[in-house]
């Protein structure tokens, strides 16, 4: 069979990008695409759980919930009703770095979406009530139960973060927060939170799809132009770290889990750096797909790991060295030590055994498809541009990521492995089945 190689991408963003900034500091990014009669409106607010002071963990995310409960001219329950009732899909997410809000609408409802976003940026506080806070606090506590507490291994991420990042580091605590802090959340704190961070000069508005830059710029001015700038928004605590950890740490959990599982994790480089690009390729070689080293050697070769639960991935955080997470789950009859030895050996192989051309090509091909899948929706494109505008100051730099991945060499991967994968910088989290002590 003939096997043409993938076309080499010189850009990861072959659509137009136009930008402007309103007088109040709101940055506006537009990428026109008339292919489908849909448009995505996306807002990145440069505030995440990394901004939370001690005793207020989970507040940025709880706040995200409050943004759907009405604002100055939008009654409680109306936001969802207006978006869905006009054919749209919507959601919002909070992570350590930032909070994003987005809706994809049939394009005739673009103006409605902008009006809704402006109203909750500029007019949330008057609509915020104790009743709403109390209700959404319970919803978030149920989210915590459903996603982290009631599922086997569900708390792994909550356990890994404090092992990876020292006390006081902005990534030390999880975005979902603690039940204790959530219970103590007071209304005034949230009003102050909104006034502090939900400012036009702390946000990027991105619109992608069936519209023009001129139309969006005019509408942005009309709806967002009156919102006041907030001076002197405090930065999050400094996330810089001297380098990878210098001491291995380990946590062993006995819990109601169906099989022994291991998570190995290392701090790497911040998302957006050349080092992290190498880590992205490295993690694909190591643990993405059936052709990866982990799958080939532990699931297929030694057959000590369950094939459905093995992999490696980076968590794309930009404000401090981002984590690489490597995980495997033991097959029936395989003990934890055997699995851990096997895992350590494969991880070490990235340092000791050169990456082959086949491995590198495979990883780049998978990353290429994954990239294009990510930008195949107007939502995917809007979120991408919002990220690059927020984190790197220029949405157009989004186009460089794919070419930069494709430029990573085998030597780059080995160098990255030598730097980040040393056993003495490793976090090891293990689960074994049993009654929790």
């Amino acid at each position: 069979m003939t096997s043409p190689s993938a076309p080499v991408a010189t850009t990861g963003y072959p659509w137009p990008i136009e930008t402007t900034q309103l007088a109040n500091g709101l940055r506006v990014v537009v990428s026109e695409d008339r292919t489908a009669p849909v448009v995505c409106v996306n807002l990145w607010y440069d505030v995440g759980s990394r901004h939370e002071p001690p005793g207020q963990t989970g507040f940025a995310h709880l706040f995200e919930h409050l943004m759907f409960e009405g604002s100055q001219h939008v009654k409680k329950t109306e936001h969802m009703k207006l978006v869905q009732g006009n054919g749209g899909s919507l959601n919002a997410t909070t992570n350590p770095d930032r909070t994003n809000y987005f809706e994809t609408m049939p394009s005739e409802h673009l103006e409605l979406a902008l009006w809704l976003e402006a109203d909750r940026m500029g007019g949330l506080v008057p609509a915020l009530t104790q009743e709403t806070l109390d209700n959404q606090r319970e919803v978030v506590k149920n989210e915590r139960r459903q996603r982290y507490e009631n599922v086997p291994y569900g708390d792994a991420w909550l356990r890994l973060l404090p092992l990876l990042y020292p006390e006081g580091h902005p990534y030390h605590h999880s975005t979902i927060g603690s039940m204790e802090d959530l219970n103590s959340a007071a209304l005034d704190t949230f009003k102050a939170f909104h006034q502090q961070y939900y400012a036009p000069n702390n946000a990027v508005l991105t619109v992608v799809g069936d519209t023009t830059a001129a139309e969006v710029f005019a509408l942005a001015e009309k709806y967002f132009g009156a919102i006041a700038t907030v001076p002197d928004i405090p930065a999050a605590p400094d996330g810089s770290l001297p380098g990878p950890a210098d001491k291995a740490v380990r946590e062993e959990v006995t819990a109601k889990v169906p099989a022994p599982r291991i998570y190995l994790s290392h701090r790497t480089y911040p998302f957006g750096t050349a080092g992290y690009d190498a880590v992205t390729v490295l993690s694909t070689i190591l643990g993405n797909g059936r052709g990866s080293r982990l799958y080939q050697r532990l699931a297929d070769g030694a057959r000590i790991a369950q094939p459905d639960y093995i992999g490696a991935y980076g968590v794309d955080l930009a404000h401090a060295p981002a984590p690489l997470i490597i995980t495997a789950t033991a097959k029936d009859g395989v003990d934890l030590q055997t699995l851990e030895d096997g895992l350590a050996e494969v991880v070490q192989s990235l340092i000791d055994e050169p990456v082959t051309a086949d491995e590198l090509n495979r990883a780049k091909a998978l990353l290429t498809t994954s990239w294009w899948r990510g930008v195949s929706t107007v939502y995917g494109r809007a979120d991408l541009l919002g990220r690059y505008a927020t984190q790197f100051g220029d949405p157009a730099t989004a186009a460089d990521r794919l070419p930069k991945w494709l430029a990573v060499t085998a030597e780059d991967v080995t160098e990255a492995a030598k730097h980040v994968l040393r056993p003495e910088s490793r976090v090891t989290l293990t689960y074994v089945p049993g009654e929790p002590s």
Partner: protein, 446 residues
């Protein structure tokens, strides 16, 4: 200056159109392709009439074991070489089984799709199926099912299914089988399933920029060396409803949430009431502002989310409400849920609610169908249910034209609050007594 106080009106809508469809036939199979100009990725889905319904009693999960065995090497190359060949195209195989079909999907950049389809067909048509590999995959699947069943949900799902479809053989067991039935699957079962059902041509669905794709070459790749006639279809199972409500407890000690699965049977996908039923379910439990989500999440704070929906296949349908609620409010959450179902059944829905439902369902046809993968999935609905090429335009119009009377009538006819089976997976020591409020509590056998 201040915020704009009045809500803006609606701009001019562009007409809705599903992508243009082209067909090519070869060797008894058909390529059905949707043209999406400018798309960089393309998707292909080989659709075979070999769903879980074709499995033998007691060997539920045979098709799933086969699906997972396809990548363990082919007659041409071993599993490592296969993985490298496919993944070097940027493609990964997605074999899967549902009640009606066996599917093998691949996505890749357009210029590489033909090679990816060749490899997908190689795995689907000529897998090595070495007995030792099949047994290992089977054992891994048993372990994977045990992993899955350790989560809240799968045991409750299996319990509801067993109760609703108890008299319907294969349909009373989970789609992918259970740990016991998969453990019983033999190499012969897997080989026989492949021989009987995966060598027929079937249909290849393609979505992408067709100007850059050679459909005849794709047809050749998908259907070469296949044989067999299309299979006949069996009729619907009917809507058997019990005389009264049943409550079944699935014990999950120390669970901090109770997983609710409340359901009853409903008509199959071909029902003429499909559109009003979908809209009724949207009002009751589909949209964020649905009656259930509004009351149980937004007013009461009992849950992170609650959904009510109809699922429909060729031969059966069912109505289900699914949620995870905090353990301490299990009974109040069920009580309120039953109240909303009863109200919807008895009183129907309002124009204000229907406005949201019809616009949302219609709008989703463009909002949620932007990618080649989504369009390939939409094509599969046409094939499985024998729907015409202009179906999505018709569906959109029917959503937008549905009346309160039609949807209220569907609520009255297809909701049966007194015939629900209430499956509750949670901490029996805490919730068993309070569940008695809903009638005799039976322990799940699963």
């Amino acid at each position: 200056m201040s915020l704009v106080t009045t809500r803006p009106g609606t701009g001019a809508a562009r007409p809705y159109a599903f992508p243009a469809i082209r067909r090519v036939t070869a060797h008894g199979g058909t390529v059905i392709a949707a043209h999406m100009p400018g798309q960089i990725l393309a998707s292909a889905l080989l659709l075979l009439d070999a769903g879980a319904a074709r499995e033998t009693d007691g060997r539920e999960g045979t098709a799933t074991v086969l699906a997972k065995s396809l990548e363990e090497g082919t007659r041409k190359r071993d599993s490592a070489a296969y993985a490298l060949a496919l993944e070097s195209l940027g493609a990964e195989l997605s074999p899967g089984v549902d009640w009606d079909t066996f599917r093998v999907g691949v996505s890749a950049p357009g210029p590489l799709l033909a090679d990816a389809v060749r490899l997908a067909a190689e795995a689907a048509r000529t897998p090595k199926l070495d007995p030792a590999d099949v047994l290992r995959v089977r054992d891994d699947e048993v372990t994977a099912l045990r992993m899955d069943w350790a989560q809240p949900g799968p045991r409750a799902d299996a319990t509801l299914r067993a109760d609703l479809f108890g008299a319907d053989g294969r349909f009373s067991r989970p789609l992918h089988g259970d740990p016991a039935s998969v453990a019983a699957v033999t190499v012969e079962d897997v080989l026989a399933f492949h021989e009987a059902w995966l060598r027929r041509p079937g249909v290849l669905l393609v979505a992408g920029d067709l100007d850059a794709l050679d459909l005849a070459a794709l047809a050749e790749a998908a259907f070469e060396d296949t044989s067999g006639e299309p299979l006949g279809q069996e009729g619907p199972l009917g809507v058997a409803l019990p005389a009264r409500r049943r409550t079944i407890l699935v014990d999950r000690p120390d669970s901090v949430q109770s997983t609710l699965r409340l359901g009853h049977r409903a008509p199959e996908r071909a029902t003429p009431d499909y559109v009003p039923m979908m809209l009724a379910a949207t009002v009751l439990g589909g949209a964020f502002t649905s009656r259930l989500n509004h009351l149980i999440r937004e007013v009461k704070g009992y849950t992170y989310g609650i959904r009510g929906s109809y699922a429909m296949t060729r031969r059966w349908g069912r109505f289900e409400v699914a949620a995870g609620v905090q353990t301490a409010v299990t009974a109040p959450a069920i009580r309120d849920t039953l109240g909303e179902i009863a109200r919807t059944q008895a009183e129907g829905i309002t124009e204000e609610e229907l406005e949201v439902a019809r616009s949302w369902r219609a709008g989703q046809l463009s909002v949620e169908m932007q990618t080649p993968g989504a369009i390939a999935g939409a094509l599969s609905t046409l094939v499985v249910h024998g729907l015409p090429d202009d179906y999505y335009e018709t569906l959109r119009r029917e959503y937008l034209e549905a009346t309160v009377e039609q949807v209220s009538k569907a609520s009255a006819e297809h909701l049966h609050v007194d015939a629900l089976t209430l499956v509750v997976e949670g901490d029996g020591a805490v919730i068993r007594e309070e569940l008695a409020e809903f009638g005799e509590v039976v322990d799940s056998a699963i």
